[in-house]
Subunit: 416 residues, 2 copies
């Protein structure tokens, strides 16, 4: 008899209540929900989580970068590599309730359900809350998982100075979450992260489950175009070297490329500045950022190259000077096909429609994919809204996602 046939389900009420309860920590003076990494508010959230972990008998470990692990060791599985579930509980400023927290609390809920139902796992099952996924107070984002996966030195990262002038290591000490375990001390058999989509696809399509098979590569660059400031009235069009016009041409070019990519590439110009920024002066300088994403490494490189070629051409046609500075580059991540299939299968067995999809946002899972087979499960975000108090996922979808996670864990840690 396989465990799946038990038709276990998580305790919906308990999960929903805990999402609400954790959501009440970190309300700031304006009654906005803000739990920046290693702040007092973060401490309050962490304390609550650790209390819940201990209540159910998990072994709680904190590593040097402050990542929290609640581990359920069975009597005979201690030497096996654990199944790890998780996400993060830090937030952006004025955040919603679900981003990150949903994955952590569902992981905890899955473990509680399995324990209560007498499930005997072949491996330990751990739930992780990674430090500073949002990267608001300390850069970079996805910090805790990146350090955990060996992508950054823990000593370097502890010295990070925050936007408020604080040092991360000192703040972790202060709030009592500077642990002693070396990051990476648990090497998982698999990592599964349940998360709200933070995009509109599942909501628009009316699907409850996304089986996330990959995560877009991200390329950020800052482009600076130098033209010549001149009088808006006295300078004939053919004598203009208009940095602002050249910037506009780049923005429309990027959209045309994205349209031609068949939904694979997305491109965003989110910031822009003109100088001297006067109504009647042709801009001498335009500075803007480009955010390019594609789930395929080669395609992402092709997009970067196409943009570089276009900028070269544009510099000639508009008689401007263009420079480009790389800001951030994360290669695309392909998740583990076996786990992705398990997610699809679990959804199907529960009568939940799913689709394979790409994560457009970065997640701790993209770092954990460096060290073990990894995948993600998405549930719909109403209107795709996230990082906003309006962030919302229907209870039924939250429950469905957690049950799919439960089933996948049963299959990975079950006795067959």
């Amino acid at each position: 008899m396989t465990v799946i046939n038990l038709n276990l389900s998580i305790n919906s009420e308990r999960l929903l209540n805990r999402i609400q309860e954790l959501g009440l920590t970190g309300l700031d003076n304006d009654n906005k929900r803000t739990r920046l990494a290693a702040s007092d508010a973060d401490k309050a959230g962490r304390d609550l989580l650790v209390t819940w972990m201990k209540e159910v008998g998990l072994e709680v470990e904190i590593d040097r970068i402050g990542n929290i692990f609640g581990i359920w060791y069975g009597t005979e599985n201690r030497i096996e590599a654990p199944i790890m579930l998780g996400s993060h509980i830090d937030t952006v400023i004025n955040a919603g309730m679900y981003d990150g927290c949903y994955g952590v609390l569902s992981g905890l809920e899955v473990i509680m359900t399995l324990k209560e139902k007498g499930f005997i796992p072949t491996r330990p099952i751990a739930v992780a809350a990674f430090t500073n996924e949002e990267g608001v107070r300390y850069q970079p984002d996805m910090m805790g998982s990146l350090v955990y996966a060996g992508g950054l030195s823990v000593d370097d990262v502890l010295a990070t100075v925050g936007t408020d002038g604080t040092i991360l290591g000192e703040e972790l000490e202060r709030i009592g979450y500077a642990g002693t375990k070396e990051p990476g001390f648990l090497k998982p058999h698999a990592y599964i992260e349940l998360h709200i989509e933070q995009g509109p696809i599942l909501d628009k399509m009316g699907l409850p489950i996304g089986a996330v098979e990959n995560l877009q590569g991200i390329s950020w660059q800052r482009i600076t175009i130098e033209g010549v400031a001149n009088h808006a009235g006295t300078t004939p069009t053919d004598m203009r070297r208009d940095a602002g016009l050249a910037a506009a041409r780049v923005i429309t070019y990027l959209r045309d490329r994205a349209n031609a990519s068949n939904g694979q590439t997305v491109a965003t110009v989110g910031t822009i500045e003109f100088k001297p920024n006067a109504v009647n002066v042709i801009p001498s300088l335009a500075t803007f950022t480009v955010d390019l994403r594609n789930p395929n490494k080669q395609r992402l490189q092709e997009e970067e190259q196409a943009l570089a070629n276009y900028l070269e051409e544009l510099a000639t046609t508009e008689e401007v000077t263009i420079t480009s500075e790389p800001l951030v580059r994360f290669p695309p991540v392909t998740f583990d096909q076996t786990i992705v299939k398990l997610v699809e299968k679990a959804a199907g067995e529960r009568g939940l429609q799913s689709r394979r999809m790409t994560s457009g946002a970065g997640h701790d899972a993209q770092m954990m994919a460096r060290v073990c087979p990894t995948a993600m499960i998405f549930v719909p975000s109403i209107d795709g809204i996230s990082h906003n108090p309006k962030e919302y996922t229907k209870d039924s979808d939250l429950i469905a996602g957690a049950n799919v996670l439960l089933d996948v864990v049963c299959k990975l840690a079950g006795n067959q």
Copy 2:
């Protein structure tokens, strides 16, 4: 015998020296030339000008808005309408030496030359320095001439609050230039303004003289595009409502229209702002200004209408909301054909090549055109640079322009 046959010429050395000397007033603490209207620096410039006017025996009159007039009355011409020459001596911040001052000092030089040579004018000849042409400290620009031409109430304008919180009327009192004459007290027979081009056309074409036959109409508007802020990674292209992209489309559309206008229309987007202005967030708001110019009233209206139509279309295709707020509107001005022809003829008789041209910038002449036959004479600006310490016109061109002005005045005030 006509006066022209005397082959008078201005005193080049005196004119050039005075441009230098006036240029030395108003050097600020950073050694930058800044004579904002009704400031201490402006007073220093005014005092110097008035001293020069009095030295040559002109009657100096100040009107209530601070415009300065130096009037040469002949023994028998006092009842005739005067020929008025002039421009302004206030400057932008960190200005060049020529903008405005060249026209005022050349007007004074023409009168001095005529007096010295025993020319007997049939009409009074006046030189005017209009208050606050630049509009940097107090808005709007071309203020003194606009009030003089009856376009604004002097009482209203004297109450204008400056960027530094001062009140124009009080500042004029303080520097001793709150006169008692009502603006408009002299109704000219003709007004001629000699000015540097502030654009590149004469310099590029190697021509010393521009016979300015009209002045572009100016339409400024502020356009606000409202889209939806969304995650740059998780929002598929076809679900985006990207205010920044829509703004870029407007900018390239305006350039395409300008290119199609055969050099008549110029369009400039000089300022822009995105909100929230984050690398990985699709802009929810884009605000930018449009500066549209065309010397033909109907064509300018057509350009405005075409833009309005395009914005309506764009709002549909990009699913954004677009609003447009008019900021400034000056209709085009057509100068007096008789004077323009006199300018061309005078240039030709001196062996100076000239071309008919349009003023792209605003000038006091555009206001004076409301009250009397008016025209302008342009001389080249090297590389079209103005409002900048690098503003430069060759001495030979300065002299040529002043001599053409002299000849035109002789024809208009001569005994035939």
